[in-house]
């Protein structure tokens, strides 16, 4: 394998990994805040792609202008799910909540199929085009945009959680809900905001994927890989989700190149099992001790 091929593989792997990382982030954020694992997150990705498609068909807005509108729509949708469907059953057993989010996902996908069927719709974006040449390298601009988006997103999240009052409130709720409530933090607002943030990130992922692979009801079929990424990272760690996603994408791509396509899909789950044997709480997770 030449260094050029190795670089192409690393770029491709980091791009795929960035997508996994974004969906993993969208899983981890509401989980930290509300303790609910949202199995509909894959369909939120799909919804983001279709929102972009609808806006592009209904208006003549350029792709860049579609992004903020789609994110706002997705955030409102996240708040609606949290307020109307999740909050009323928050006291139910965890398994019930998981099944409820599964059901939400199935409903979203079925609703999309009702109107759009399984046709694949193209969505034009300025970053999809011929590869850029850099010496002997050929760089796919879409890969670069996906990786850059992840980096910007992580930067924005760091600033939000560290320096904004609301971000600090979300961190406090993640640490201890009761203590946060006693400190006067509006827990319900934090729950709703975490869902809004997560659905916006999911929708952004859909918007990035749509011009690359086309818009269809299966575009968000990423939930298992994102879960693996989140678990590798420790599940409750935002940084861990990003590292887990990137690691998974790169290992998957190189694994496929070295061991063939058949093993490519085995690799993520193999890594997960090995990692859990060595570090049961993931790379960045910690065991929580509770006095009873």
């Amino acid at each position: 394998m030449t260094w050029q091929v190795a670089f192409q593989l690393a770029l491709s792997g980091a791009s795929v990994g960035s997508i996994y990382a974004m969906v993993a982030l969208a899983l981890v954020i509401p989980y930290k805040a509300s303790g609910v694992l949202n199995f509909a997150q894959g369909e939120i990705v799909t919804l983001g792609a279709y929102t972009g498609l609808v806006l592009s068909l209904a208006t003549s807005l350029p792709f860049v202008a579609l992004i903020p509108i789609t994110l706002i729509v997705a955030a409102l949708f996240g708040i609606a799910i949290e307020r109307l469907l999740i909050r009323p059953i928050l006291a139910a057993p965890e398994f019930t909540l998981v099944i409820a989010t599964f059901a939400i996902g199935l409903i979203i996908r079925a609703a999309i199929r009702l109107y759009w069927q399984d046709n694949t719709f193209p969505l034009e974006a300025p970053f999809v085009g011929p590869p850029l040449s850099l010496g002997p390298l050929r760089l796919n601009p879409a890969y670069l945009v996906v990786i850059a988006t992840l980096l910007v997103l992580v930067g924005a999240l760091i600033v939000f959680f560290r320096y904004s009052k609301f971000g600090k409130a979300m961190r406090a709720v993640a640490l201890n809900v009761t203590a946060a409530r006693l400190m006067g933090i509006d827990i319900n607002s934090v729950f709703a905001s975490s869902w809004a943030l997560a659905t916006a990130i999911g929708a952004l992922t859909g918007l990035l994927l749509a011009p690359i692979i086309g818009v269809n009801p299966e575009i968000g079929h990423l939930i298992l890989k994102a879960l693996v990424a989140a678990v590798i990272g420790g599940f409750t760690s935002v940084g861990g989700a990003v590292v887990g996603g990137l690691l998974l994408g790169i290992l998957e791509t190189f694994g496929g190149a070295f061991f063939g396509a058949t093993f490519k899909n085995v690799i993520p789950f193999g890594i997960l099992i090995l990692l859990l044997l060595v570090k049961p709480h993931g790379l960045f997770g910690r065991a929580v001790q509770q006095r009873v």
Binding site: S12, D118, P122, G129, P130, R138, L139, G214, E218, A261
Partner: protein
Amino acid sequence: MLGKGFCAATLASALIALAPHTAAAEQGVTADTITIGAFGPITGPAAYIGLAGRDGANLAIKEINAAGGINGRKISLLFEDDGHSPAKALAAVKKLIDQDQVFAIFCVAGSNGTIGSIDYVKEKGRVMYVSFASAPGVTWPFARNLFRGGTTEVARYGEVYAELIVDYLKGQKVAIMSGREEYPKNEGDALTKQLAAWYNITPVKRAEFNIGDKDFTPQLLEVRQAEPQVIAFFGNPAEAAIALRQAKELGLNQPFFVGTNMTDQSLITAARQSAEGAIGVSLLPLLVGSSDPAMKAWEAKWKQEYPNLPAGRPNTFDLLSYGDMYVLAEALKRAGKDLTRDKLIAALESIKDYRISPIATPRTFTTKHHIGNLRLQPLQEKNGQWEPIAWEAKRPSDVLKRYQ
């Protein structure tokens, strides 16, 4: 005399009264309706064939019924989704035959679904008109009740692909990338077999992938290592689009040959500039987007019926099923008012060079073979359009020999 006249009148009345009952005795046929069952994938990664197959057939049926139907009866189409799975296709066919009691089956499933249904359809003796599936089992071994319309037999694909690659593209070192499901696997196998039989060439690499894959880097690296002169790709347009783009990123600039299901606008829509220069083979005399007046008129009709469908539609499969539904309708008409399965089979076997308009390839069936179309047109993608190339297959086909 009066008694004889009375008896004759009574007999005539009885015959008239019985006539609809005779027709109604055939499952799926009533006095005013012929119920046809159809199946194909309308969900999942192969939905582009089933949705198009259903929509093309429905457009034809709408026109046929508006023009008075078939010998006074309207066609009614019942459609089942098979999700591109042989098992689901079998379930769909069982439902259509046993529960819905259809008269005949119109199959737009592609090879994967079709192979799941063949044995049951043979067992039940129901006529199945397969609009598109190249799987050998449809027409060989010969079954009287199975017909293949728009697509040709996979062995013929192998012949034309091999000759085109060796004679026109001058490829002696050929790499094949193919999906693992029925159709792409069969086409890859047919090309391999024919390269060996006619040119004593063994592909330098055969790399496989799964339907719906989004990354072909591992397969392309294997292909790159084998240093082929031509890369033949058999899969779906969405897969080919990604593979074409990634091939260029990995420095693979060899001619890219694609199968018939990708030789239409859907590949160009998905692959954009990466499709430039791709070579393919079409089952149709005209592609969507052609400036031919017949195609323009058909496209206008289609878009009026389905105004909200995406770029890339109508595609090859809309055209194939539209043309094939007209072939089936023509046979139903020829079978006469007193419709039976045997009469439909005989009528289909009388179809010779029939097509509804220049947008369709003429179909011919005989009592010896039920392969409706053997025509394949080589094309190359240039500046966002498929253009005919100045080459045609010269070697005589061996495909029909076994039917003699």
